[in-house]
Symmetry: none
Subunit: 233 residues, 2 copies
Amino acid sequence: MKILVVDDEPDVVESVRIGFTLHWREIEVLGATSGEQALDAVESEHPDIVLLDIGLPDIDGFEVLRRIRDFSDVPVVMLTARDDSMDKVKGLELGADDYVTKPFNHLELMARVRAVLRRLSMPTPTSRAPSFRWLDLEVDFARQEARLKGERLELTPTEYKLLYHLVRNQGHVLQHGTLLAKVWGREYVDEVDYLRVYIRRLRDKLDDDPDNPHYIRTERGLGYRFLAPDPAR
Amino acid sequence: MKILVVDDEPDVVESVRIGFTLHWREIEVLGATSGEQALDAVESEHPDIVLLDIGLPDIDGFEVLRRIRDFSDVPVVMLTARDDSMDKVKGLELGADDYVTKPFNHLELMARVRAVLRRLSMPTPTSRAPSFRWLDLEVDFARQEARLKGERLELTPTEYKLLYHLVRNQGHVLQHGTLLAKVWGREYVDEVDYLRVYIRRLRDKLDDDPDNPHYIRTERGLGYRFLAPDPAR
DNA sequence: CGCCGTGTTCACGCGCTGTTCACGCGGCTT
DNA sequence: AAGCCGCGTGAACAGCGCGTGAACACGGCG
């Protein structure tokens, strides 16, 4: 288990580290004291969960969360000084998983962390295998595979990742930079070549015609969009 | 995090710079001592927030704010020597986000800045933007597309941007310069040709007759106005 | 050691889109 | 009434975004 604690006060990081290591064996506690550090750490260390303070020196905690969500689905628990319910709403809408007000005691914090991890690790055997269907395409998130007319598609890991993010944001434009960050990492934001090549390979395998697309539409000058049922009706 | 401080007194800029860099790591403080400099800096540097003095050598601070609002939604905190509530009203009506009277101490200033940033960090990224409907037209802000009678309109990015700003200000006249600044940037304020061409293309796609418009009305000598249901009746 | 799958890089060409310009009409000014 | 200005209209041009095809590097595996 690997936890990333983000707080501009090194003392907070230390105290969390001590608290966790005392009560939870086989845990690794990473620390970051700025937004940039946090983003780098999330990308390079792949922590299992992030505890994220809102008041950071460089980038606002909400912004950090938003940028994390550009390339990672790691669970995030927001930490904040005040019990501001507006903040809670903001955080949760941005994709936070829980919210803890400072000062907190470690037992409560650990309980929340465990709760979040438990909630997310639920294999969801009966509840919902969130596979996605649209026309002839079916994406099985649990198995990490896609089928076209029931036929399994042989996708490379990168191709699947690209399809996955497109599908998860169906109906919305994904801008070039966003897509590149999600699939290849934050430092690939300008490598538009990759997108051209991989979008093409995906369309080939999906049997999708760029001029009359059923799945992936090009948004010239912007990015790509996975088509969705018309919300107007 | 990038802050632009605008004040004709370089000392004020310096003192703010020192105050912020001491208490807030990973922050970049830009300075401007005139209104023109400020406008250029906002457009070229894209600061996260602007601290704007009212008394400037060339252009009045309120005027600077107005011009900034012609092409940018960057949060602005007004600085002023006097505690004049009229000024406050004026500033806020022009789109300022907060108001600090000089002399200020840095802790208060930083608190205000943080508050503004926190308050604004929510609305943009994931907020559920309501789609706009009027007659046969529907503009879906979240999906970045427009539909006419349920049929998707094929708009270029520029066309969409133009329509977007017109719709967002429905019922109000958008002057030529304002529209040009919002869509193309501040240095295009005099390129009225662009407007003529793009308004025409938009009207074509909207199936709108200039002589009997249902959507975009020409305000001769002024600009354009997106029609809105008359609230008077 | 050689083959194959995958990621990475590049060049080419078409069509879209932004940009520019000329013309004519209609209303307003003088 | 004449002329001017603002606007609509049509069209032409050029640059760029994107699709396309292909070649190469690299690592894993037989």
